[in-house]
Symmetry: C2
Subunit: 695 residues, 2 copies
């Protein structure tokens, strides 16, 4: 009947508006039951369960055999890691798979059969699940004794498919690949031509004294290639040329030419290409988010406009204020926004809303939340007012910074004096007394500030929260120290008592004091700019970080499979079997510098047998290309993009410095974004696979 | 009289137009004698003498004591370098100083007294000359025995002051310094806070087994600082953390945090800042060049317009065609441009030129020279026409590439097979025969191409010139080989005869064949783009390269002074006294990777005594900051700038691919350049210190 229809329309509008708020696509089923399922699927609980399941399945590797979740990494001292009985991790895995099965079924149902066949991600999801389950059955039928477990390499896929940002980023990276491949091809040509030159230049001679270069680096084709590849990362930079250079200085021309062409030109060309590709990346993604939001709101308008049985004017569809109020009350959204929209809705004199008015109402969603600090308390007494003025003044904050600096310097002086002393000669009195004094000052500063600003205003500044929290922790530590070890006096070196020795307590206090010194950051303009850029970057980098985790995980597992038991403990070498957290930590460390990966390649090749060495070479070169070359360049590109936007806006911001905004990426680009036109929106709406619009 | 006046005006116009062509400033004296001096000073001979003098004075360091211009760099085998008698290099130096004195006097006279006081570069020039001459006198009075020679460090200044591009670039770098200093300050804060953390974390403990980290890297403040500074360059990346990591895996968090913050964020921030600053650098410099050109032409117009005794119309000044023709005939300019201007001048029906018409005439200077290849010969015979079609077709070129590739592969196969053979076991027959065949093919290809295209058209393509030259050299080498060693036959291993052994000849031929393979570059679109970008970059980088030479030179000389005789030969160590070309080569090698500089720092500190070590530290950290951090980032910024401009223009270019342009930087930016307005030009003209305009 009409009532059921009306309910359906209202529900559709609610879901569309929620889609708009979350920047979700509206291309899902819109019948009553599907809408209920949809809202349930995107409820906090469901999404939380899904994220938790993904975390669990990824974390399993830390306890599965081979694992190395031990304190020390030194095989000589370390206790064997706990190995779970067969079936424990496997049953956890099965639970996760069941959740994923439910997830994929709901997702497939909601987007509909026709859309399902077009969605490659969902197909890949199902395929991954099938392969994983098969592998799981094989694993159980071998009583967990088989070593090659394909499903482990597939695990990061579950993380990947759950984030639309990561999928988008991956698509973007994918479109850069052809150009990156060209540069990598150029690098390969460069490398092979120079390898031939090198083999011709540093050939074997009759005199054994003369062909040191040949013996050490250019013995045969694989050796020469490796030497020059490592030179490309500058890991063996002066060493590789020293024998030739000491024979004839002119040989250095070869190496300089190779390094300048390869390192300065081609490598930086890669940066240029990636930057060029990602220049518009942020803007494009924000633009498409905006489109999704406008589309969701427009869809809500359209379904609400079909609510009215008799259209008042044939030309223009419109929406009654009552229906919108009903929708707003049921939709889940930020309470501040909801109130603002309701407030402006009440100010409308007319009972009907046009499409433009409807969109305008929801522009509240795009607005900055202007952060207002609670007011300071108003004191009656003249003395208190003076106190408030004095301790609320910025100069009091600067004084605090100066005191913190003095504290740091005193710690530094003590450290330098104590650097070479035996632990038994150390006297903790001086530092103890000084720190006691400084911590009292910090407490006093905090209390005075609270007095001047009021507790709520004090806590509304992040720098104060940071400051206050550290001061409280310092105070607790200091009180604990005095309770256990008594007050400081000359020769204050009591024996070990309680949880931590006095020396450890003092070190901890000192570290916290050094950390507390970071409160100066907001006081320095350039530093504040840099730090806010970095924080923004971290927000925008989440998708990249996710992809990095995926790559890390896959590489760590592959590394385990390749090198399992390959490197036997050899005297004082530290690595034995490849194990999960170990591998993970290693590759994460080695990803930091190209140099390190290559040093490691050389180390591996010295340690291990020939067959493994070849695999190790391919593995580490791939790792170097992906982590150091591509990922670092992506990072540089994003940093450039973010920083240049920030920098351009700095002047503009400074004029408004009185008001603090809670800035999001969307807002950073607001003035360059294009509003989608009505035609675009309506065209998209008519392409909706499940929604039949009246007109 | 009026005739003399007219001559002066004509001469002024000639000089202003020459200024416009060379993008020079027009702010110089404009009386007859000064104009003559000015044209003489900027004549090719004079400028060539000046450049030659600068080259000579810079090159002196290669023969002066301490010099190491020897073949080998190994002190054990090397003969003592030739040391010139006292007074030889000194008299050469005096000659150079005299040339510089003349240069500075002429320059100062030409810009005039008032301008001289505003010109800091000229003052610095004079000061440098005075200091150098004083130092020279001191040197001679000590009979060249004194070791500290300040004038050597000052030498690169002569290079710097002679190039306006370098001065401009330096100004630009200078304006980036405050922001760079902020980041360097941030880096310093980062480094010092983490040093304090590290000293607190890795303190000395009672158990000697446990404090390996302390012993090796964090013994005291300077050690800790050095360890972390070197970690910032990733030179000691895995090593520095291994002792702590093997004690407790959690320590790796400290190192990862330090590296990610320092290396990924702060270092790349420096790139971002420098890129942001230099984004508009090229455009701005091209814009100011354009302004100088328009100003010069306008100035010529103004002086020519005062030539006419009776102004025809009071409002508009204009210039007679005859006067302009007179000026054009005397001015030195590209003959193509001159002819084009004359041609369009003759097409004017009117006898008088307005300012706009005058400017328009000289727009020919800004235009691309469209490069036209000479036509192919037209053969009468049908057979010849078919030949011409076949061998002029691109497919014939591709076939040549395939043959070159086959040659490379055959050389590669022989190299791999011969890699481990003793020189006495080697048989040169196979390679000799194969290369003989391939070189004959190359010769045939060249001749057929010349037949098809005609010699002039063949030579008009750079790739053909490259190809042809190498083919001719290869042919000569092959004929020489056969003349000396006979034709190849199995077991072709004749004794050493003549200048080079057969083996060396074969190697040389092979290297040239590998080098010839680069002819494929223009055939691959992406490669061609990259190579043209790199060539453009090299053009734009001349100023940067000059500044780099200046910095290199200064650092090399400082290094010699600091480390002279400091490092004594120690067993098999290779470095003894610091010497000029040695130092120069070393620092040039070490500038390539940050890693290397820091490895070297560690090596130096292991080798040398404590006092020297401190100097070495400061020296190498400064060198690392300047060469690796700042210069490499500048390079990246310019590469990004160039590449992105090129990339944007690629599609546009492809449509015009039929026409080859001789592109200059100015032309790359033409569509974004702003033409200066008439008011700006006239205002600038009225500020001219020596030119009195009538109106």
């Amino acid at each position: 009947g009409a009532g059921a229809d009306n309910d359906l329309y209202i529900n559709q509008a609610i879901v569309f508006i929620e889609d708009a708020i979350q920047y979700r696509s509206i291309n899902h089923r819109v019948d009553s039951k599907s809408l209920w399922l949809y809202r349930w699927y995107y409820s906090r609980t469901c999404q939380w369960i899904l994220s938790f399941t993904i975390t669990v399945i990824l974390a399993l590797a830390f306890v599965e055999e081979p694992s190395s979740l031990t304190v020390t990494s030194d095989v000589r001292y370390r206790l064997p890691a706990w190995s779970p009985p067969c079936g424990l991790t496997e049953s956890l895995e099965l639970l996760c798979f069941l959740v994923f099965l439910a997830d994929v079924s709901v997702k497939s149902y909601l987007i509909g059969w026709k859309e399902f066949w077009k969605n490659k991600w969902l197909m890949a999801y199902i395929l991954t699940l099938i392969v994983s389950l098969t592998d799981w059955i094989v694993s159980l039928s071998f009583y967990c004794k088989e070593s090659v477990r394909i499903r482990r390499i597939l695990r990061p896929f579950f993380l990947l498919q759950n984030s639309s940002m990561m999928k988008k980023t991956l698509k973007s990276i994918n479109s850069t690949l052809p150009e990156m491949a060209s540069v990598v091809l150029l690098l390969a040509v460069h490398l092979s031509l120079f390898t031939m030159f090198a083999m011709l230049l540093f050939a074997r001679t009759k005199d054994n004294q003369q062909d040191k270069e040949w013996v050490a680096y250019f013995r045969n084709l694989p050796d020469s290639l490796t030497s020059l590849l490592v030179l490309l990362t500058t890991a063996n930079n002066p060493d590789v040329m020293i024998p030739a250079y000491s024979k004839n200085r002119a040989y250095s021309i070869f190496f300089i030419l190779f390094t300048v062409l390869g390192n300065l030109f081609l490598m930086n060309l890669l940066t240029a290409i990636i930057y060029n590709q990602f220049r518009g990346y942020l803007l494009k993604s924000v633009q498409s988010s905006l489109f999704r939001r406008r589309l969701g709101i427009r869809a809500a308008f359209e379904v609400l406009s079909s609510l009215r049985e008799t259209p008042a004017s044939a030309q223009q569809s419109c929406v009654s204020v009552g229906a919108l109020l009903q929708v707003l009350q049921k939709a889940e959204m930020d309470s501040r926004c909801k109130q603002a929209i309701m407030r402006s809705l009440k100010m409308y004199s007319c009972d009907q809303l046009s499409a433009a008015q409807f969109q305008k109402l929801f522009e509240e969603l795009d607005k900055d939340a202007i952060k207002q600090h609670p007011p300071s308390p108003e004191y009656q007494s003249h003395f208190m007012q003076k106190m408030q003025f004095a301790f609320g003044h910025p100069w009091f904050g600067y004084l605090g910074n100066v005191v913190a600096l003095a504290n740091i310097i005193s710690i530094c002086v003590v450290l330098v004096m104590d650097a070479d002393k035996q632990p038994s000669e150390r006297d903790d009195f001086f530092l103890g007394a000084i720190n006691c004094f400084f911590i009292l000052y910090y407490l006093l500063e905090m209390l005075l500030k609270i007095l001047a600003m009021g507790l709520r205003r004090y806590l509304s500044y992040p720098s104060n929260r940071f400051d206050g929290l550290l001061t409280v922790i310092l105070l607790i530590l200091e009180i604990a120290t005095f309770a256990v070890y008594g007050f400081p006096h000359p020769g204050w070196r009591p024996e070990f008592l309680g949880l931590l020795s006095l020396w450890d307590m003092v070190r901890l206090v000192n570290m916290l004091i050094v950390f507390r010194f970071l409160r100066i950051i907001p006081n320095m303009k350039f530093m504040a700019l840099v730090v806010t850029t970095l924080l923004d970057l971290v927000k925008n980098l989440r998708a990249f970080a996710g992809i990095l985790v995926v790559v890390f995980y896959a590489f760590a597992i592959t590394g385990i499979m390749l090198f399992q038991g390959a490197v036997v403990p050899l005297g004082n070498t530290r690595r034995s079997k490849a194990e999960f957290p170990g591998s993970c930590a290693h590759i994460s460390l080695w990803s930091i510098g190209p140099t390190t990966s290559m040093t490691l390649l050389v180390v591996y090749c010295l340690l291990c047998v020939h067959l493994i060495c070849r695999w190790a070479k391919i593995y580490f070169v791939a790792w170097w290309l992906i982590s150091s070359v591509i990922w670092v360049n992506l990072f540089v590109a994003l940093l450039l993009e973010n920083f240049i936007h920030k920098w351009d806006r700095r002047c503009q911001r400074e004029s408004l410095s009185g008001i603090e905004y809670q800035r999001t990426v969307e807002l950073m680009f607001r003035d360059v974004l294009e509003e989608p036109t009505e035609e675009e929106l309506m065209e998209k709406l008519h392409q909706h696979p499940h929604l039949q619009l009246c007109r």
